[in-house]
């Protein structure tokens, strides 16, 4: 049974961690607590510092400043071969001259376990990753998905306190990736090992992660559950990086007790939003609205008053429609000239008179949809 997850305990505690390569600051004063038994996803673009952070956890890079504690023990002076941490490499890094069994047994052999015990543990973990019959094969005789499983088995067989996964699914094709995601979750729950996953793929991060840390320029931009990050991004960077978003600059014209009114000239209407941030009248803010939270209709929405005084509604013309099967993406040029992105699920088969290109439409959204961002 996996150990009970204590939501408050910081199993891995990263404090003020900094890594400099010459003048370049790859990781900039990052502090981060990771709980026992969770899957923490570090999400960021290339050069965001996520891989450097992972390599410091594994011990391949030494921090320029700051500390890493795993289960209370300071890792600063501990070389990689003595850390209770294993890593699954992006390239899998399987030893090409060793069979699958030998690859998986490698870690146990370093601990000087008995031959019989090693054989037993290798067999067990290969069964868990469903590679039981492949022990005698060499890595070059395996498919990409099979190699990924062997790499996972090799990293898990020592039952590390912490498993680091560097872009674990990047080398797999889309169908296999989805399948593997759920299997990875399954194995993680079964073994109760704490996972830290580095990925640039937000979809991967969303499905795998119990919590995400979005990284940008070596800093953590936001930490939260996938829905926190998606629905309540803290900064424009996070809002823009995760999913797609329609973002417009505006000026606060009314700061009521529970709602804000923002004049957006770019948008050509006033945005009414729930009050989630503190800002004063006249402040410059940004409103971010997710494409799926916008309604598209031929009729003006009921709430819209006279033209020019609309709230949370704009008029526009459909410029492009991308049919994706499960949903369609509409690019609507609104009257102010900006283009908004709207997605609608295709609920009905063969809907009557679907909205077509060049049609004049109204876009509207609920007051809870816009997120107001100050930075």
């Amino acid at each position: 049974m996996p150990p009970a997850a204590d939501p408050d305990s910081a199993y891995v505690r990263i404090a003020n961690l900094t890594k400099r390569f010459g003048d370049f600051v790859a990781v900039d004063d990052v502090s981060l607590d990771i709980r026992r038994g969770e899957i923490f996803c570090l999400l960021g673009g290339s050069g965001s510092g996520k891989t450097t952070l992972l390599r410091m956890l594994a011990g391949f890079e030494l921090p320029s400043a700051g500390t890493i504690r795993i289960d209370g023990a300071d890792m600063s002076a501990i070389p990689p071969y003595e850390r209770p941490v294993n890593m699954m490499f992006q390239s899998y890094a399987l030893f090409p001259h060793m069979s699958v069994e030998k690859n998986v047994a490698f870690g146990l052999e370093q601990e000087g376990r008995g031959r019989e015990q090693i054989r037993h543990q290798v067999g067990e973990i290969l069964d868990i990753v469903k590679m039981g019959g492949f022990g005698a094969r060499k890595p070059h005789q395996l498919s990409g998905g099979q190699r990924q499983r062997v790499a996972l088995a090799r990293a898990l067989v020592k039952r590390p306190k912490l498993l680091l996964l560097d872009e674990p699914l990047a080398a797999l094709d889309k169908k296999l990736r989805e399948h593997t995601q759920f299997e990875l979750l399954n194995i993680q729950q079964r073994l109760g090992v704490t996972f830290i996953v580095v990925t640039h793929d937000q979809e991967e991060a969303m499905t795998l992660g119990t919590r995400l840390g979005v990284m940008n320029h070596g800093r953590i931009a936001q930490i939260g559950t996938p829905s926190d990050i998606y629905e309540s991004p803290a900064t424009r960077f996070v809002a823009d990086f995760i999913g797609s978003v329609n973002m417009f600059e505006g000026r606060v014209s009314d700061d009521g007790a529970d709602c804000l009114r923002i004049d957006c000239t770019e948008l050509g209407c006033t945005v009414r939003a729930e009050r989630t941030v503190s800002c004063t009248r006249g402040a410059i803010v940004w409103t971010a609205i997710r494409p799926e939270k916008i309604n598209i209709s031929r009729q003006p929405p009921a709430a819209a008053g006279q033209p020019g005084l609309t709230e949370n509604a704009v008029r526009g013309t459909v410029r492009e429609i991308a049919y994706m099967g499960d949903m369609s993406i509409y690019l609507v040029q609104i009257d102010s000239g900006s283009v908004m992105r709207v997605t609608l699920p295709n609920v009905m088969r063969g809907a009557e008179r679907p909205i077509a290109r060049q049609e004049s439409v109204w876009l509207s959204w609920h007051g809870s949809s816009p997120v107001v961002l100050t930075e």
Partner: protein, 297 residues
Amino acid sequence: MRLTTASGRRLVAGIPILWLLVLFLIPFIIVFRISFSEVRLAIPPYTPLLTWRHGSPVLQLHWSAYQFLFTDPLYVSSYLYSLKVAAVSTLCCLGLGYPMAYAIARSHAAMRPVLLMLIVLPFWTSFLLRVYAWIGLLKNNGVINNVLMYLGVIHHPLALLQTDFAVYIGIVYSYLPFMILPLYANLEKHDGTLLEAAADLGARPLRAFVRVTLPQSFAGIVAGSLLVFIPAVGEYVIPTLLGRTDQIMIGRVLSDEFFENRDWPVASAVAIVILLLLVVPIMLFQRLERRELEAAK
């Protein structure tokens, strides 16, 4: 003129085939043929294989040259000595060359061409000159003895020249690049993340080297060793200039048979036996190379 793909391919394959045919296979057949003759005072100095008697051809194969190799102990001892010298030199080259190749492969990318250049640089001077230079270093009143005596380490000059030691020095010095270059070519391709993976799984650096780097560089070790071992077996110049006078290597035997004794059949037989001795490691190497190629696919 337009060259079709097929004829172009034939041309590309044809040049090396022609080269091997004219410069290797035909001379080999000639030597092979002479080894089955008997010596005689004539031009050419050996008996023909085919003679005409009463209008019909008669094939005359003589085994005497080969038999002679095993009756006089000079030949067997020269073969064994040559194999020993070549084997010891190869091991020394491996011991010296591996760390050097490894260091070059691990050095900064900008430094590598410079370091490789330094390895190849001695080739710019004549081989003979470089071996002569070793005489100047090793002889009784040579540089090494003079320096050691001046420093008071020794009081009588060490006998360095005309020893096995001098031959090893000469061969290792001359053939080291042939060990380093294939090893470097192999080690340079190694994936550094494999060593990280080994460390991550608990292997200390030395163990990671033994379990990961060493087995993967096996093909490079074999290639370098053969490139040193094979020419070292037949080495003529180095043992003649630096080596012992009481024990000669087989290359010297071959040359003496040919030029001093003018016994072409025995000289040819000596050459054929060297070839047979070397064919085994060459075939092993080729089998290994084939396996490497299959694994790389």
